[in-house]
Symmetry: C2
Subunit: 105 residues, 2 copies
Amino acid sequence: MSSTDTSHAGEILDRIQHHKGVRGVIVVNSDSMSVRSTLDNSATVQYIGMAKTLTTMSRSLVRDINPQDDLAILRVRTKKSEIIIAPERTADDREYQVIAIQDYE
Amino acid sequence: MSSTDTSHAGEILDRIQHHKGVRGVIVVNSDSMSVRSTLDNSATVQYIGMAKTLTTMSRSLVRDINPQDDLAILRVRTKKSEIIIAPERTADDREYQVIAIQDYE
């Protein structure tokens, strides 16, 4: 993991984690590895797995319907919280995935 | 398809289809059959298939993380539009799934 990765992830984390109700933020690099996470390891691994499965499936379904379109953001609202899975491209063109878990109970 | 199904679906459709940017609304019964749709048949079948696949996958992933939780609403934002997949329970306890496609270009 490069120091640039870690510093980018730190900026992303700082920006999101203090939003109201945010219970966790994970910054994932293009190898599906957690660069930074505010959750414990097992929860981090679970959410990364979920995000990867849903992103891959959604992207292919979106492209089935319109090959010129592409997936941007996935929001999974459950009874207890909302999981937001969004791509993040930095100024120096590095691509991350941000997973934010927001409770609203 | 019962007349009650069709009249429920009509109420749901009327409520949603006139929102700004809404390009299509599909009301699906618990057998994954379209009760009403404002889209043509092939698009209707495609979106129902997508919704069914994503809903099934998301529900199981959500329950993996927390067995007491359940999926509520899925929002798939793409470059061109947003696909909202939400359950709808009527006063007489019939359950439908509503798929709304909203463009924002």
